[in-house]
């Protein structure tokens, strides 16, 4: 399944300005690689780009399709195919415990209570969370929380996983846990990050600056481009 961005742009009207402000103005892109990274400065438009992919933000010009489905008109079908993980797992985990949150994900899919419980346990077990299933989400470490959010999103088996700066709130150990977990996923992954080591794991990296793509290609060159953009010397 591939994501096709057909020259989408996102503009918003700002009070006191005649011209709308452009948040994002992209060229035509086809995202088909297994692992895709998006890097760029704060406010460059990374989050807006990711939110285009599941219809959380709709383009004001152009269009975005996922496997042929339009993110505007067929948004529900798109969201079933595209799982989205936010930076802060606490804003994403709705229920008090990981078990209950995963079961919440499965409510519509599995009507039978016992069956739903079994499915949820299988998902939690896969992410090594079964022992923590009944703990309050507030008592989990940052990495465990992020894994719980990931488990809740992957429980409904989306075909594509989008992650918005998933490692920003994590310490080194938890970041490594996230990296190995992501590496083991069968899903296509699109993620934004400030972590250049995570970016280096990707098959293709887009560098975003001021709302547009300034580089598109292999990870090492993308990282070099981003460093130059930030006024940093190239790595010795």
């Amino acid at each position: 399944m591939s994501i096709i961005l057909d020259r989408p742009a996102v503009r918003i009207d700002v009070d006191g300005r005649a011209e709308p402000k452009t948040l994002l103005d992209l060229p035509a892109l086809t995202l088909a690689e297994h692992r895709i990274g998006v890097i760029g400065a704060n406010g460059s438009g990374k989050s807006t780009l990711l939110r285009l992919l599941n219809g959380l933000v709709l383009p004001t010009a152009g269009r975005v399709t996922v496997g042929g489905l339009d993110t505007g008109r067929e948004v529900r079908a798109v969201r079933r195919r595209v799982g989205f993980v936010f930076t802060d797992p606490l804003s994403q985990l709705v229920m008090p415990t990981p078990r209950e949150d995963v079961e919440l994900s499965l409510r519509r899919l599995v009507r039978n209570g016992a069956e739903r419980r079994a499915r949820a346990e299988a998902v939690l077990d896969r992410f090594g969370l079964l022992g923590l299933a009944d703990q309050s989400v507030y008592e989990l470490s940052g990495g465990e929380r992020q894994l719980a959010a990931l488990a809740a999103v992957l429980a409904v088996e989306p075909e594509i996983l989008v992650l918005d700066e998933p490692s920003t709130l994590l310490d080194l150990r938890n970041r490594e846990l996230l990296r190995t977990t992501l590496a083991g996923l069968g899903q296509q992954v699109v993620l934004s990050t400030h972590d250049l080591e995570i970016a280096a794991d990707m098959d293709r990296v887009l560098v975003i600056d001021a709302g547009t793509v300034v580089f598109d290609g292999a990870a090492p060159e993308a990282v070099a481009c981003y460093r130059a953009l930030c006024g940093m010397p190239a790595r010795p």
Binding site: N54, L56, R76, R79, R80, G83, F84, F86, D88, L90, S91, Q92, V94, M95, P96, T97, R99, E100, E103, L104, S105, R107, R108, G113, D134, S136, Y138, E139, A152, V153, V156
Partner: protein, 208 residues
């Protein structure tokens, strides 16, 4: 974000009789206590009911400390109400009113301490099911309650955070420095929660 100290709905896992009692029976208990508090006129009956319910609570194995956590927040208000009623209507009436409120609190705590949130949601959803023919969506009804339960601790935690940062800047006496940031944090949390729910396809009308 802290807020963990404020988490409500303290379910205590267990396999006691009370845990295994059907949810409707526990709901019925709360309902009876609520109605009963209007009908009972003798404070001794209220005291007996309170003793009985406390015994049921402790029989569930949830422990005396969990019971104390449930009752403690209402005590200051009950003390005020009790004192006022004593002055207005005399000792027996004041005792009856205070005991009746405690009966209701303990009955409600029996439900929350022995029922996982998931089962409460299933219960809420099935309660709303008869309204389905009028266009109500039981799943959405249950989800709303879940989010409410989850958001109260967040807002309490936001208040604690903002109070600390106001204090750090020497602004703790300025109500605007307290209320406005909590208000903004809460709206931001609501938007994030809404976005996360939309991204997970929760709260949509049944997609079939």
């Amino acid at each position: 974000m802290r807020g963990h100290g404020f988490l409500l709905a303290g379910y205590v896992p267990g396999r006691s009789m009370v845990h295994r009692a059907p949810l409707w029976a526990k709901f019925l208990l709360v309902l009876l206590c609520g109605v009963g508090s209007w009908l009972v006129s003798d404070w001794a009956v209220s005291a007996a009911a309170l003793a009985l319910l406390s015994a049921v609570f402790l029989a569930s194995g949830a422990g005396i400390r969990r019971l104390a956590t449930a009752v403690r927040p209402v005590l200051p208000i009950l003390a005020l109400v009790g004192a006022f009623q004593w002055w207005q209507l005399g000792g027996p009436t004041a005792a009856r009113i205070v005991l009746n409120v405690l009966v209701c609190v303990v009955a409600a705590s029996i439900v929350t301490a022995t029922t996982p949130v998931r089962e409460l949601l299933d219960g809420a959803a099935s309660l709303a099911r008869p309204l389905e023919r009028f266009g109500a969506d039981p799943e959405r009804f249950a989800l709303t309650i879940a989010i409410m339960v989850r958001s109260i601790p967040f807002i309490a935690g936001a208040f604690a955070d903002v109070r600390d940062s106001a204090r750090a800047r020497g602004l703790e006496r300025n109500p605007r420095a307290l209320v406005l940031p909590v208000f903004i944090t809460t709206v931001a949390f609501a938007r994030q929660t809404g976005e996360a729910l939309a991204a997970r396809g929760l709260g949509d009308a049944d997609a079939g």
